[in-house]
């Protein structure tokens, strides 16, 4: 059967009994079984549970269930707690951790009838831009398996790109959805901070973490988002912002935007490097669609990376203190004392990048450095947010590259954390400002995908998705699949 359909297509097929959810799920599980050994996109495949859920969904569909997600198989980044199924967060620390409760986001999707295929690979505790920091091994980029899929949600991006799942959940702290979406040639949305509950999502940096969706198109993302988003009383930072559009999304197809002012930050556009050709062509597509392109300025974005690494490191350093070998998670053998228990359990359980970030964050918060680093970073965060708010007084959206380059080769940046951190140069500013942002395929370079990033004001997901949908009506970059004549695709095409 053809599993490479849009979510709308799959939902129609299910409703019209062209195929059952069990058939669809089994077909995807078969592909996962075949491809995962090479791609390593999944840490855990929940085949039995998936087939049970699919059978339940088939019964619900026969009973007239109306949810567009009923019976649709999804993959979840292994950062979402799923009751009864292990949740590793890519870490040895949680290698055997079986959560006794469900994350709000995945519980809501389950309630809508979605089927969980399994838990996808990721950089340990979501710290990384290449998925090389997973205790469960690196993930291959389906376009070129010597290259990284991006990170930290690399497994989810890879699964969607390789056709192992029609859509997948990821989380984005500084670019962890958008950057792997760009590297793998899929669409990825990081919603507004507070839009999706963080309850049950293993915390990396609390003031930045946000769950989002990977799919093959903006329309598919709009199908999943309303079923996981919305206020959650279990998360103090969950927004009570009401959005009738989101509810409408569950029953109506996504519209397309045809007008509006799009800002081009001059700090980015003066030197686009290898993304130049695809970004310029994307601009032409948008202009032809009726958008007006104007220059905007984000004067403080150069400081975004240091600001981010201080804030994320500080928050992470204490969020990860709970992994102490006492109540759950890895414990060292034969601890001789309490200190020995703490130190060996944590040193054995955490990988090098996690330790590096814990130490960076500990340093930034320690006596004598707090003002110079943490407080300074929070003030710069304010300036960066003000830059965006000022720009949005003039424009409806901002566009930028998602990444500075195509996916890099595995191993190229592992010894240089600072160079690795620079990969997130375009994605971090929106994270700091809490803005919704997405990446959509907009071209290729040397046969590998590149992403166009759309950044909107708080809670402007509708505008982002409808603009992306408009772009995807005009282009077919999002329909290209890995393995289809990669070099020839570079010239790109407008339909």
């Amino acid at each position: 059967m053809d599993t490479d359909l849009s979510l709308a297509g799959l939902a129609t097929g299910l409703r019209e009994r062209s195929f059952s959810s069990v058939e669809l799920t089994a077909a995807l599980l078969a592909q996962i079984a075949e491809r995962n050994p090479q791609l390593n996109a999944f840490i855990t495949v929940t085949a039995d549970e998936a087939l049970q859920q699919a059978a339940a969904a088939d019964a619900a569909l026969a009973g007239g269930a109306s949810s567009a997600l009923c019976g649709i198989p999804l993959a979840y980044k292994d950062i979402f707690c799923t009751r009864g199924v292990r949740t590793t967060c890519g870490s040895r620390m949680l290698e055997e951790f079986i959560a006794p409760y469900d994350a709000t986001a995945t519980a809501r999707l389950a309630a809508a009838g979605a089927v969980m295929l399994g838990k996808t690979n990721m950089d340990e505790f979501a710290m990384g831009s290449s998925n090389e920091n997973s205790h469960f091994g690196a993930v291959a980029n389906p376009w070129d398996d010597t290259r990284v899929p991006g990170g930290s949600s690399g497994g989810s991006a890879c699964a969607v790109a390789a056709g192992l799942a029609p859509a997948a959940l990821g989380t984005d702290t500084g670019g962890s959805i958008r950057q792997p979406a760009a590297f793998c040639g899929v669409s990825g949305l990081k919603p507004t901070y507070g839009r999706v509950s963080r309850y049950g999502m293993v915390a990396f940096a609390s003031s930045l973490d946000q769950a989002g969706v990977f799919a093959r198109s903006a329309a598919d993302i709009a199908t999943v988002l309303p079923h996981m988003a919305g206020f959650d009383p279990l998360d103090s930072t969950s927004s009570e912002h009401e959005d009738p559009w989101l509810d409408a999304c569950t029953t109506q197809p996504l519209g397309t935007a045809r007008s509006g002012r799009i800002g081009l930050p001059k700090q980015y556009f003066r030197d686009l490097g290898v993304t130049e050709a695809s970004l310029q062509s994307a601009c032409r597509v948008l202009e032809a669609s009726g958008f007006e392109l104007v220059d905007v300025s984000l004067p403080h974005v150069d400081a975004a990376i240091p600001c981010y690494y201080i804030i994320a490191g500080a928050e992470a350093s204490t969020n990860l203190s709970r992994y102490d070998g006492v109540r759950f998670g890895h414990r060292c053998d034969n601890p001789q004392s309490l200190e020995d228990l703490y130190r060996r359990s944590r040193s054995e359980g955490f990988g090098a990048e996690v330790k590096r970030r814990i130490l960076t964050g500990t340093y930034a918060l320690s006596v004598g450095y707090y003002d110079a680093y943490y407080l300074k970073a929070q003030k710069i965060r304010r300036l960066i947010q003000q830059d965006f708010l000022a720009a949005f007084a003039d424009v409806d959206l901002i566009i930028a590259p998602t990444t500075p380059d195509i996916a890099f080769k595995r191993g190229d940046l592992v010894d240089d954390p600072v160079a690795m951190y620079q990969q997130d140069i375009y994605t971090i500013p929106a994270s700091l400002a809490g803005l919704p942002a997405m990446s959509i395929p907009c071209g290729t370079h040397r046969g590998l995908p590149l992403g166009l990033q759309l950044i909107g004001p708080h809670f402007a997901e509708k505008r982002l998705l409808e603009t992306a949908a408009s772009f995807q009506q005009q282009t077919d970059w999002h329909q290209q699949r890995p393995g289809q004549n990669p070099q020839a695709a570079d010239s790109g095409s407008e339909t």
Partner: protein, 93 residues
């Protein structure tokens, strides 16, 4: 920039690092902090720190018992328990 006392940070963070790790991490942290020090060039006087991207206030929860407690389930994955207690090496006070 002054040398960063990695051992002190490791003590605060309860991490055990070998001599080799200390020197590698020390170099990494030096490089990271050099990168971070770009921040110092920006004038932030009269700027309010931003702790949360949305300027919201804390919501208050009604004082109700809403949790059911499944101790045995929670302790299934615990490294060491007895009589419902979590066990650790003896703590001297």
């Amino acid at each position: 920039m002054a040398d960063i006392d990695i051992q002190h940070l490791a003590n605060l963070a309860q991490l055990e690092l070998s001599q080799q790790e200390i020197s590698v991490v020390g170099e990494d942290l030096q490089r990271i902090m050099i990168m971070v020090d770009q921040m110092q060039a920006i004038d932030t006087s009269n700027v309010e720190p931003l702790a949360h991207p949305l300027d919201a206030r804390q919501r208050l929860r009604p004082d109700q018992i809403t949790e059911t407690i499944e101790r045995d389930l929670y302790q299934q994955g615990a490294p060491a328990t007895a009589d419902g207690l979590y066990l650790v090496p003896r703590v001297v006070e």
